[in-house]
Symmetry: C2
Subunit: 82 residues, 2 copies
């Protein structure tokens, strides 16, 4: 089982890394880039487990909220890839 | 138009950030996590442009290769979201 966790800064939060990327894209010949947000992505491979799937997903969500993201300034998205 | 660029360490390259996340997931009650890779994601919003779409995509790929990723140790994936 493989899951992908994407962590992005919340829309209301200033993203200085995204702003720096946007400005550099302008200088490098992409003047149409008007907004860039920069985030993190983690791909987690899990062993097949005896634990039931809903319990595993709940545990993953808890870990995404408490460890993989900062819920004050970031949102996360959890996708089961396969 | 919105594009998403995902930059991940190549499979053959050691990913110390991924290893650190995996070890911490073990300590936090997810012993089944046997591999974690950590990467970056950038969401770029582009103005509708007079430039033709294939030329724009080619320019984006060039910028992904030369600026947004390090092709020696990273692979990128470019998705047109809308």
């Amino acid at each position: 089982m493989k899951v992908r966790v994407t962590v992005m800064p919340k829309a209301a939060v200033l993203d200085p890394q995204g702003v720096a990327i946007r400005n550099t894209l302008h200088h490098l010949g992409l003047p149409g880039a008007h907004a860039v947000r920069a985030g993190k992505v983690m791909e987690i491979e899990l062993d097949p487990t005896s634990e039931d799937r809903p319990a595993l997903e709940a545990k993953l969500r808890e870990l995404c909220r408490d460890f993989l993201s900062n819920p004050v300034i970031e949102d996360f998205q959890l996708e089961i890839v396969d």
